[in-house]
């Protein structure tokens, strides 16, 4: 079980049942569980979609697209079955929030899937959980069995005469599969290679049927919106950014942990107050505000409201809620290299700008970090990364390019400091050789 934390500024919605034994269905029911889905059964699809639209709930996986809008794109009638797919392939470095939802409140995800299904007219849903989270798959499978046993899932849910099935599905290690079209390929038993869009999944998705794909945290919010109302939820955050977010504080911070804070919470306050600041008398150097794919913010740029639009305005992304704090003992070149090593490893190789671009950038960064960089490489890295943007089937190419551009632009001096064999001044004293970044 992962450690739970708390802070007075938290607004607990998705995390309100954390630490309360809600994996047990009876306890979940005591804590208002499965009330929302029963309410939704009486609402009708349009009313549900409108409620979610008005709540200003936006996708918690990273893209921040309006959930209600996404649901409204699913055609009313379809010759093929429609599906709901919950994305629990959480793999973005810095992100560990869906893990807590599955661990502490699995039924809330099931309930969200069923409500999404009622909204779009689907009769089955899948909850895809990454392979590394085996213990969570066991928790989820039990939750599903319990829900079936009570008649909350199956042929006649809550005696309504409506049918709805929810199944668990497991991955086997692949970041790329968190991308929606690759996720569907993986669920269909194939390599997780992205599909060309259009058509979008809402029209042609799983096995050719219209499919709604939402992140686990997004779906876990849905029952609370149905019960609490769209107005209440929308007002928790700034305009067009409803609700709260699970922010995963990690890196060089005194009190790391997953905190649920209102959308629009100030990042500086999040670091220094909620997270307790930078330990060891160190100073803040940079923050990756929403998982590894998001451009870093420098110490001067952290006075920003953490909502989708404000972070975008500041030149980065709110992403998946992974806030990685970097102190002044860290080497940005090494950080950029480790980030690129990840994307090179995870690139599926389907499109050339991503496959070749990540490899080339990693090699350049390795050379740089080991002291063999050349001045022209600095501009080359930026040029190369800029030319990957928007030229791949899926956002993995962008995810690799965007942080690289920011590292080079904002920390150019650190790259220059590594030129012509100068030793990296951040390596620990007494280290006889640099720590190699192992290839795998």
């Amino acid at each position: 079980m992962a450690e739970l934390v708390s802070h007075p500024d938290e607004v607990r919605i998705v995390s309100r049942r954390f630490g309360q034994g809600a994996t047990e269905i009876d306890r979940y029911l005591e804590l208002d569980g499965y009330k929302a889905v029963q309410k939704a059964l009486g609402m009708g699809p349009d009313a549900i979609i409108n409620e979610i639209k008005n709540s200003a709930l936006r996708g918690r996986g990273g893209a921040g697209f309006s959930t209600g809008m996404k649901w409204s794109f699913v055609p009313k009638t379809s010759a093929k079955p429609k599906y709901v797919l919950c994305n629990g392939d959480e793999s973005e470095p810095g992100t560990c929030k869906d893990r807590l939802i599955f661990e502490q409140d699995p039924h809330s995800v099931i309930e969200g899937v069923v409500i999404a299904g009622l909204a779009v007219g689907a009769e089955s849903g899948y909850i895809y959980i990454r392979g590394e989270y085996r213990y969570l798959s066991i928790i989820m499978q039990k939750a599903l069995r319990d829900a079936y046993a009570r008649g909350f899932l199956g042929e006649n849910i809550f005696g309504s005469g409506r049918k709805f099935d929810v199944y668990w599905h497991g991955g086997a290690g692949a970041y790329e599969v968190g991308e929606e079209s690759a996720l569907m390929e993986s669920l269909e038993g194939k390599r997780g290679i992205p599909r060309i869009r259009p058509p979008f999944p809402a029209v042609v998705g799983l096995w050719g049927g219209p499919t709604v794909i939402n992140n686990a945290e997004t779906l876990a919010n849905v029952p609370h919106i149905i019960l609490g109302g769209a107005d209440w939820y929308a007002k928790l955050g700034p305009a067009k950014n409803g609700g709260t977010r699970l922010f995963c504080l990690s890196g060089n911070i005194a009190k790391p942990g997953v905190y649920e804070l209102p959308m629009g919470y100030n990042l500086k306050r999040m670091i220094y107050d909620v997270g307790g600041g930078i330990p060891g008398g160190r100073a803040l150097k940079a923050v990756v505000p929403g998982g590894a794919s998001c451009p870093c913010l420098t110490a001067d740029e952290v006075d920003v409201s953490m909502d989708f639009d404000s972070v975008a305005k500041a030149g980065s992304m709110l992403g998946s809620g992974g806030v990685v704090v970097i102190d002044d003992a860290q080497c940005i070149v090494k950080f950029a290299l480790r980030t690129m090593k990840f994307y090179r490893h995870e690139s599926c190789g389907w499109c050339i700008p991503c496959r070749e671009g990540t490899d080339w950038l990693e090699k350049t960064l390795i050379r740089f970090h080991s002291g063999g960089g050349m001045k022209k490489d600095i501009d080359n890295m930026q040029y190369l990364a800029e030319n990957m943007l928007g030229r791949t089937f899926c956002p993995l190419g962008d995810a690799a390019a965007m942080p690289t551009i920011a590292f080079v632009k904002k920390f150019r001096k650190e790259f220059e400091d590594h030129l012509e064999g100068r030793p990296c001044r951040y390596e620990k004293e007494g280290a006889t050789e640099r720590l190699p970044v192992m290839a795998h």
Partner: protein, 160 residues
């Protein structure tokens, strides 16, 4: 090829969860690997036959997923994360410490067949970094001393 009864029950149940048989492939491969340690040629042929796929189609899927392996490995797979959140909190030192203690490098297996060491990408333990997984178990907020204790525990478990 014979698998356990538990596997067969699960396999049968999963086949009923999807409109196409092939959809069970990825989680099934992982369950097979859990049972026999790796995806042997025999196991690959067996699952290909059951799902009406070619051997190549199955191998094509296996090679994509980083958790799946066609090579035997140690009883305990020690997976140390060195991705950004773990790296800035000493993940590389944990990896180097394990390498020294076990006397093997990335994807190496100890001579007694007990441990395989692997440097892995983000395992979703960022707020509890540095972290490692031994098989499916998470070990978090690690220090070199703490991982020593963890590895000793597994060694003890194996000899009991």
């Amino acid at each position: 090829m014979k698998f356990s009864e538990e596997f067969e029950t699960r396999f049968k149940e999963m086949l009923g969860n999807y409109p196409t048989e092939r959809s069970v492939l990825v989680p099934t491969l992982l369950y097979i690997q859990d049972e026999i340690g790796y995806l042997s040629d025999e196991a690959i042929l067996e699952i290909a036959g059951r799902l009406a796929l070619t051997e190549l189609e199955v191998r094509n899927v296996i090679s994509y997923y980083s958790m799946l392996t066609t090579k035997p490995r140690g009883k305990f797979n020690v997976q140390v994360c060195t991705n950004i959140s773990c790296m800035v909190r000493g993940g590389e030192e944990i990896l180097a410490h394990c390498a020294k203690k076990l006397g093997v490098g990335h994807k190496g297996t100890t001579q007694d067949g007990l441990f395989t060491l692997e440097e892995v990408e983000c395992i979703g333990a960022c707020s509890w970094a540095p972290a490692a997984q031994v098989n499916y178990d998470f070990h978090e907020n690690l220090t070199p001393e703490k991982i020593d204790g963890v590895l000793d525990e597994y060694r003890k478990k194996a000899t009991q």
